[in-house]
Amino acid sequence: MELIASGLTRRFLRHSGESNAFEAVRPADLTLRSGEMTVLTGRSGSGKTTLLTMLAGLLRPSGGSVTLDSRDLYRLSDAELSGLRAKHFAVIPQGASAISSLTVMENILFPTALAGKKPPVSEAEALMERLGILNLRNVMPGELSGGELRRMAVTRALAGSPDFVFADEPTADLDDGNTVLVLTLLREAAQNGASVFVVTHEKDAAAYADRLLHMDAGNLTNV
């Protein structure tokens, strides 16, 4: 499977300041392929998260297109796009993303339930074991630390073996040991056939990447 972004741009309007409009992402062309881990680095505010969000089908671009198997994501209806995202994509957002009324295990299995897939309980347990959160399976998210929530989000993204993983700062809140573990798991997901797209400030992430990209003031460049 290939996800192709062509001439992707995103313009935002600011309600104050000298210039009203600014381009968070300038025309960007990018192809994400199965079995490949792509790492995107860049300074804060350079447009990394905006690019990831557009690639993941969560933010309509101002220009350009994102196609998956010749289907332009942003020409699909909301229900079609949501169904496609639930079936093929997994997102590890930068902020807290736990559903507070569900236990850790229920949170992890929720995306597969949403996609109508069989709950991957054993895969989830294996990942939780490796990330050291198996003992938290019946705990509510409100009782977890930031690092535990992050590991839960990583498990949730990887448990259903998605075709595309979009990870925005997946190692934030994590110690060195867990950082290595999460990057290793993302690498393994790519080796198992997923296309993994990681936005990070983590310098060590480059060592896990098949392809390294950089973003500066909305401009995407190959490193």
């Binding site: 949501s82 902020g95 995306p111």
Partner: protein
């Protein structure tokens, strides 16, 4: 854990928020259901009173009002008695424009050794009666024998029990359907039984102020006029002497009740409308405020692959569940208040009050549930719409 169970889990996980929303819905359901039942009971009571009075004119002795207002006997169950000669019945029957005429005799029992309880006893003539017999006929096919009585629905004596009236034991052979009027607290017997009871009361030195034979007195004469003759007949009866009489138009009694009922129904309707407007505003505001707190969670659901329709569905299902739950509690509370205290409500309002049967109650309850569910869903529409359009950047950026 399937996505369609999420709304219930969300509600159970936040009991404080759920309880606050439920309380508002309880007010909606309670006011609508209780108000509707009360208005319907008053209307049924009025209909029942019209059936039970069942005559165009009711003739009582002119001295009756000085003792007890006949309307109070019919409407509020006040006990009382007054008499005039039975010859008045024959006189009225002979008048032009009379289609039917039948007499009733009243006796009030006492709270004393001679009587089981203070109740109104009404004697009627099964041969000529056209108001009580159809009512009794609903429950009793056989004729009433000597010292046999049928009791109103609110008399505390069961079938086959005996009640003592001035030392006479009377067998209860049937219990009447409720009318919601004062007639529910009375006991009914034939004229022969009534004559025996009057004689027994006399023998116990109870002052009845009857001159002569107790079998030759009547308390009220129910007159059905030939169509179009009621006004003329009323005037003619008023002019009769020996004794002088008071003529009560049955329609006047029911019109008075109808007027009071209209006032009460109007007040209840205004109250229901006020409660609904206030509760709906509060409910809408509550859904919006509480929805604002949940933007991050809905953004997370969106990121996980849920559609805008799915997000709106969760918000609407939560509102529907709260409405259903609050509606059931509201209806339950209304029943707890209405069923045991209908007598108190009746005496507080001073109007006939006949509660609808359980089938009608069920229909009203179902209607109330539908109404509160629709109202709850409507109140959550704005919130659901806002949540379904939540900005995904809420969670895509840390600390946003």
């Amino acid at each position: 854990m399937t996505p369609h169970k999420l709304p219930l889990r969300n509600l159970l996980r936040r009991p404080g928020r759920t309880a606050a929303l439920t309380v508002l819905v309880v007010f909606l359901a309670l006011s609508l259901f209780a108000g509707s039942v009360i208005v319907m009971s008053l209307n049924s009571g009025l209909g029942s009173l019209e059936n039970r009075l069942g005559a165009d004119l009711i003739v009582v002795p002119a001295t009756a009002r000085g003792k007890v207002d006949p309307e109070k006997i019919w409407l509020q169950g006040t006990t009382g008695y007054y008499y005039m000669s039975a010859s008045k019945l024959e006189e009225i029957r002979g008048m032009q424009g009379v289609a039917q005429a039948s007499a009733q005799v009243y006796l009030a029992s006492l709270r004393a050794d001679c009587c089981s309880m203070p109740i109104q006893v009404i004697g009627f003539d099964p041969e000529t009666d056209f108001t009580i017999r159809p009512w009794i006929g609903e429950r009793l096919k056989a004729d009433l024998g000597p010292l046999e009585v049928v009791v109103g629905s609110r008399v505390s004596a069961g079938v086959n029990e005996t009640i003592r009236i001035y030392g006479e034991s009377c067998l209860v052979i049937a219990r009447l359907a409720p009318t919601g009027t004062g007639l529910d607290t009375a006991v009914y017997c034939t004229m022969d039984t009534m004559a025996a009871l009057l004689q027994a009361a006399r023998d116990l030195n109870h002052e009845l102020k009857i001159d002569g034979d107790p079998a030759r007195v009547v308390s009220a004469i129910y007159v059905k006029a030939v169509p179009g003759e009621a006004d003329r007949l009323e005037t003619a009866i008023r002019q009769t002497r020996n004794p002088k009489v008071t003529v009560i138009r049955a329609r006047t009694v029911t019109s008075d009740v109808e007027r009071s009922l209209g006032g009460v129904a109007h007040t209840i309707t205004v109250l229901i409308v006020c409660v609904w407007i206030l509760a709906l505003i509060l409910l809408t505001a509550a859904f919006l405020l509480l929805g604002g707190e949940r933007r991050r969670e809905f953004a997370a659901l969106r990121a996980l692959g849920m559609s805008r329709g799915g997000l709106a569905g969760i918000a609407l299902k939560e509102a529907l569940l709260v409405s259903l739950f609050g509606g059931l509690i509201g209806i339950g509370l209304a029943l707890l208040f209405l069923l045991p205290f209908s007598g108190l409500i009746e005496s507080a309002l001073g109007l006939p009050f006949l509660q609808p049967g359980w089938q009608t109650m069920l229909i009203l309850a179902a209607g109330t549930l539908l109404a509160v569910c629709a109202a709850g869903s409507m109140a959550s529409v704005f919130s659901a719409r806002r949540l379904s359009r939540v900005d995904i950047s809420t969670i895509m950026r840390e600390g946003a």
